[in-house]
Amino acid sequence: MWDYTEKVKDHFLNPRNVGEIENPDGVGEVGSLACGDALRLSFKLDEKKRIKDAKFKTFGCASAIASSSALTEIIKGMTLEEAGKVTNQDIANYLGGLPEEKMHCSVMGREALEAAIANYRGEKVVKEDFEIVCKCFGVTDNEIIKAIRENDLKTVEQVTYYTKAGGGCGQCHPKIEAIIEKVRKEMEKEKPPVKPEKRKLTNIQKIKLIEETLGREIIPALKADGGDLDLVDIEGNKVLVALRGKCSFCPSSEFTLKQYVESKLREFVSDDIEVEEVRP
């Protein structure tokens, strides 16, 4: 059984704004019977060009109906510009979250909204320059790229949860993988390099912080594997430690020191910490 939030259950059992608006200003329709879910969204604007009323009709599972209901509640009272900024994450958040496997329901809501706004503006709903990546569910590369960017997706499985792409025969998985790699590289480049601001520490502060970090972040994890570690001394940025317990004869202790202990200390204390082992 799906672990739906009370809010999802409420919007499924008592959906708001079911129906179709007569003489609507905009109508958006996404999905199909074959895909297993579909949403028809219609809205009407008031004289100030705000969304006065929004209604939906949905074919689909409980989370699809709840997402549609939530969407209509969210956009009421918004200008089209504001509504255009509503993301699928906003819909999911409104419902107190959706199971990850069901995130595509929130994406369907966002897509219907986009289509309805485009319909109002008289824009063609035909998406240009796209390629159908998933033939089973008719998902385009543009839709996949958008979902990856908006939801910070990292795996093919996640792309399937959010867009349904790859959820059928699975033949498009290599293609989706290639898109993820490309988009994530782009996202990496766009990210402004963030240097974590680490304050300049006095020697006393540094020693304290190293001790704290060891005690909180590092030693408990080592102990969980039957190991342990003692702080022997601190010389400038050099932290001298002795490995105890299982760690003392573990063949991967060098790896533990550099990859785990050192990187944790660099994260929490200072970027130029070096860890060295002192053997008794």
């Binding site: 499924f12 297993g36 579909a38 074919f59 599972c61 409980a62 109906i65 089973c136 569910f137 059928g168």
Partner: protein, 393 residues
């Protein structure tokens, strides 16, 4: 809230008689049947009695009964144990509508280099035996075809299939997990070489299964270990559950007639009333060759998970072949293999009854399901479109 449990193809209630029979084997008689002392010996005796009850239920000999942990293990043991016995042959024949215990194992074997033939089914879920005949080659190691389908209840012509295979000297395994207890099985008179059953589908607890292996069938153990089960399945016997399954088989034999009369009548009543009260409803699967307790119905233009959750809200427990319930995105492989149209496949609901169901319960479903379907159709954009299109005609 009352609970109306009509999901017996998923699992069943442990019969009170079964539980009662099991309990002393947790507390008092906890010996190991393999032990030399009297304390183990008395347990050994009870395990043998249970084995005889299972054999009697299946119309087999007790030496042909191997206890396993579940239906999936029985299927895996039968298939892998046979393939292992014929290393020179590398072709497996099965169907497109098997339970994942067979279906996913076949896919795995396909990846490992076995040639796997999956027989198709028609719109009613029936096999074409000519397709089977044409698929058989000298390379064919094993044919594994389910006795009855878990989603639609459609029964395959197992004996006819067995005749075809016998003539070609090819071993035949059938997954009878859904058939056992619902239709009579007489393995002594049968053409089946191996057959799987699962305890929790016939009112024994989860965690016990049986693999029947006909005397003289080549078989290599799947769980390699001690001498238990005559060397065919290592591991200390799951004594309380074996005792429970023995009792459950005794009851199932007794209840077989009721399954095919009273339970069948309840199923037929439910089915006919739903068809009568809800427009655009269709039954999935061959209604002439079907388990007496199962009905799979599709309600067009609505989605199964929504139906299930609204039913669940009223205490009614059923299941669906729709995409959304399984976490996969496509409707069940069984309905797809049958070519059930998308308008209907997404809105399929399976009701599976047991001897514990009553007419009042059927009436409760018949009362509450039509408004649920209507409510969802009112939300669905396709229903109005459909009605409009009908109006124009």
């Amino acid at each position: 809230m009352k609970t109306v449990y009509v999901d017996n193809n998923a699992t069943t209630k442990v019969a009170p008689e079964v539980l009662e029979e099991m309990l002393p084997f947790f507390s008092e008689y906890y010996g190991n049947p393999s032990s030399m002392h009297f304390f183990g010996g008395q347990v050994q005796k009870k395990v043998n009695e249970a084995r005889e009850k299972v054999a009697d239920f299946l119309g087999a000999e007790s030496s042909e009964i191997v206890f396993t942990s579940c239906g999936t293990e029985s299927d895996n043991a039968a298939i892998l144990g046979t393939l292992d016995s014929y290393p020179e042959k590398r072709h497996l024949i099965t169907t497109r509508v098997e339970h994942p215990a067979v279906g996913n194992l076949s896919t795995y074997l396909g990846r490992k280099g076995y040639r796997v033939t999956e027989l198709s089914v028609d719109r009613e879920g029936r096999l074409d035996l000519d397709e089977l005949r044409e698929s058989i080659t000298d390379e064919t190691t094993l044919v594994t075809i389910m006795y009855a389908n878990n989603e639609t209840g459609v029964i395959f012509p197992v004996e006819e299939i067995g005749e075809i295979l016998k003539a070609r000297g090819i071993p035949f395994h059938t997954d009878a997990v859904q058939a056992a207890g619902k239709i009579p099985l007489h393995l002594k008179k049968s053409t089946v070489d191996m057959l799987s059953i699962s305890g929790h589908k016939l009112h024994a607890p989860k965690g016990i299964g049986v693999l029947y292996i006909r005397k003289g069938t080549k078989f290599s153990p799947f769980l390699i270990g001690g001498h238990q089960e005559k060397g065919r399945r290592g591991g200390t016997e799951n004594v309380p559950y074996i005792i429970g399954l023995g009792k459950a088989c005794e009851l199932a034999k007794k209840n077989l007639e009721e399954e095919n009369t009273r339970v069948k009548a309840l199923r037929d009543y439910l089915e006919s009333k739903l068809l009568e009260k809800i427009p655009n409803t269709l039954v999935n699967g061959d209604r002439k060759n079907r388990l007496p307790n199962t009905v799979s119905v599709s309600f067009e233009y609505v989605e199964g998970e929504s139906i299930l959750l609204l039913l669940s809200d009223l205490g009614i427990c059923a299941s669906s072949g729709s995409a959304c319930t399984s976490g996969s995105l496509e409707p069940s492989h069984v309905l797809r293999a049958m070519g059930v149209p998308f308008t209907a496949a997404h809105g399929s609901i399976r009701f599976s009854l047991s001897v514990y169901n009553t007419k009042e319960e059927m009436d409760y479903i018949i009362e509450h399901l039509p408004p649920i379907i209507q409510r969802l159709r009112d939300i669905s954009p396709f229903w109005k479109d459909y009605l409009k299109a009908q109006g124009k005609k």
